[in-house]
């Protein structure tokens, strides 16, 4: 093999069929004799397959959405026709036109007065519309927002359905976002409240650490919700100080145990520090409970 290897971008462009025919042939010839590029291409193909499978549901849901809007639009058009026709027929009569004109003036006057008196306007419909637009796309990348907004009435006819499959460049961006997300995968829909709480079972440094971490996370949530009412300024200061000291001990000893898993002394201090933190948090939780019982 004399030719230089291709990068991931070129390989992906090859897979997406974006290269010119002569370049495509060159790349194909090279890949057939280069193990590294063959592996790279296989990896890219796997990632593409994974991204397609993940986005399949979204692809499938977009087309019915367009159909649905088309149906809604047709229904609206039908209703418009059936409703306005007799009204226009009625207004063609001269007496009715005069009466309607006066009535219109009256309604506008009353309406202006009503607005001046700050009568609250019912915004329910607007809010609902905004809520409907809050359908979140699967991906976090804003440039790749899939179906972000529900069109207003005049735009109903031209709702575009987004399908990435015919557009390789967009799909590639989608796939990159997916691959990056997979690489930095964290549990979905679980906000990380405590650094210690990050998947403790996988990083358990001492026996029973997961239990300690779980207990601490629960207590921390309880205490954080109530410590403002339970602790006065001096108690709060003491609490935060003790908590900081304990957290520092936990952090240092966790680091030490990770570096040296056979360090029994560090493990002992770590367990002790965990227990001290639980005691500290329990103390505040118990105080809150007592104060509540006295009310």
């Amino acid at each position: 093999m004399t030719q230089k290897c291709y990068d991931a971008g070129m390989i992906q462009a090859f897979l997406d069929g974006e290269l010119a025919s002569d370049v495509t042939e060159t790349v194909a010839r090279h890949v057939s004799v280069c193990d590294d590029c063959a592996i790279l291409m296989a990896t890219a193909e796997e990632e593409s397959a994974a991204a397609y499978s993940i986005l399949e549901q979204e692809f499938n849901t977009l087309v019915p959405t367009q159909r649905l809007w088309t149906k809604i639009n047709d229904s609206i058009e039908k209703e418009k026709k059936s409703f306005w026709k007799p009204i226009f027929d009625f207004l063609l009569q001269p007496q009715a036109a005069a009466f309607a004109g006066l009535l219109l003036v009256a309604v506008v006057s009353v309406g202006l007065l009503t607005v001046k008196q700050n009568v609250p306007v019912d915004l329910t419909a607007q809010n609902n519309a905004q809520e409907q637009t809050a359908i979140q796309p699967i991906l976090n990348n804003k440039s790749l927002t899939v179906s972000p907004t529900l069109p207003s009435a005049p735009e109903v006819k031209n709702v575009p359905a987004v399908d990435y499959r015919p557009n390789p460049s967009v799909f590639r961006a989608v796939k990159i976002a997916y691959v990056q997300r997979e690489a930095n995968r964290t549990p979905r829909n679980q906000p990380i409240k405590n650094a210690d709480a990050v998947n403790p079972a996988l990083t358990e440094t001492v026996l029973g650490e997961a239990s300690y971490v779980k207990t601490i996370a629960t207590l921390t949530e309880t205490v954080n919700n109530r410590k403002d009412e339970a602790l006065d300024s001096s108690s709060r200061f003491a609490f935060e100080r003790d908590l900081a000291v304990t957290d520092d001990a936990i952090k240092q000893m966790r680091k030490q145990v990770r570096e040296n898993p056979r360090d029994e002394a560090a493990k002992q201090i770590l367990r002790s520090s965990y227990q001290n933190k639980i005691d500290l948090l329990n103390s505040v939780a118990d105080k809150t409970e007592l104060m509540a019982s006295l009310r």
Binding site: V105, S235, Q256, A266, I269, S272, Q275, V284, L294
Partner: protein
């Protein structure tokens, strides 16, 4: 051309005139001053605030005193909103309550025995003629609150702000938000917690759990009343000082405070001392018999007594020393992260 009909013209004129003048009528109506609504509050209305919610404000500020005949092993429950509380055990089968400079006092018998003596009594902040619905909260309040109770009584106290002294009763269970607790001659067990104050226990027995958030804990001359009684003391920021504690199972912990133990280790005893940044000091007899496991991080270890080292591990951030004294009857675990561990001769 539009107005082809006379009737239609008349109707249109009337409606137009009405709506033409309607806005002016409305504007005029808006200029008429509206008489404001004035709500007169009752003159004697009490405002419920957090500060006075639990207080007993009924009655005069004079003293109140009441007594009731009870069983010798009566269980007494009371709540203290504010005031210094003194409970003293006496030989009579009777409870006497005195409240000075506060509200009223009453008893609520919750349970009686076959001899028709009260075995469970609640001391309330309202008299017998009143009831809770009329009188409000049940917590006692006053400058001085004194109770004389049978020596065999079990006393349960909860409160928000109080200094408590309890002597010569069988058992005590206390939880207060703020205030010092002093206990003396409690025969069969103590469970005491204050979240802002000190706890002092003297000459007592039974299982003990002493807790303070910011304050210190001092205990001396304490022993189990039954086999298996445990002594526990924990505080977040305060120190713990123990002297002549004769429990075989002892658990002492503080986050940032120091721990001091003076006395002998019991044969077969299990002693755990934990602190994060505080020091640990053991003052023990020269002929102590224990197996000692000292673990510390950035602190140091020092012993005046001879310690036969069994194992010693040193890493960059943690060290442990396992050694024995005498026959090694008791197990003593000392753990601190950044404090010093010292063993001194008594």
């Amino acid at each position: 051309m539009i107005f082809t009909s006379t009737t239609a013209r008349q109707i249109s004129f009337l409606i137009g005139a009405f709506f033409l003048f309607a806005p002016f009528c409305r504007m005029f109506a808006q200029t008429v001053p509206v008489e404001p609504k004035i709500v007169i509050a009752p003159a004697n209305q009490k405002v419920a605030t957090k500060q006075n919610r639990n207080k007993v404000f009924r009655g005069s500020e004079t003293s109140a005193e009441k007594s009731i005949v009870v069983d010798a092993k009566v269980n007494i429950s009371l709540c203290i909103a504010e005031g210094r509380l003194k409970i003293n055990g006496w030989e009579r089968s009777e409870i006497r309550v005195f409240v000075g400079g506060g509200g009223e006092v009453g008893f609520k018998v919750l349970q009686k025995n076959k001899q028709n003596n009260a075995v469970w009594v609640m001391v309330t902040g309202f008299g017998a003629a009143q009831n809770r619905e009329k009188s409000g909260e049940e917590c006692l309040s006053g400058e001085e609150i004194e109770l004389d109770v049978p020596r065999g009584a079990v006393v349960n106290v909860k409160g928000s702000a109080s200094e408590m002294t309890i002597e010569a009763v069988r058992k005590v269970d206390i939880k207060i938000v703020s205030g010092d607790i002093s206990l003396n001659n409690i025969a069969e067990g103590i469970n005491a917690a204050t979240y802002n104050g000190d706890v002092t226990v003297e000459n007592s027995g039974g299982a003990m759990t002493l807790e303070s958030a910011n304050g210190s804990i001092v205990a001396f001359d304490a022993a189990p009343s039954e086999i298996g009684d445990i002594f526990k003391a924990k505080t977040s920021g305060g120190a713990i000082t123990l002297q002549q504690i004769e429990y075989r199972q002892t658990e002492i912990s503080s986050n940032t405070g120091s721990l001091k133990f003076t006395g002998e280790f019991q044969n077969g005893g299990q002693y755990d001392f934990r602190t994060v940044s505080g020091g640990i000091l053991l003052v023990i007899p020269e002929k102590s018999s224990c197996k000692l496991n000292a673990t510390y991080g950035f602190g140091r270890f020092n012993s005046e007594l001879k310690l036969d080292i069994i194992t010693e591990n040193n890493t960059s951030k943690a060290r442990s020393i396992v050694g024995s004294m005498g026959k090694g009857d008791a197990n003593v675990n000392l753990t601190t992260y950044s404090g010093a561990i010292r063993i001194k001769k008594q």
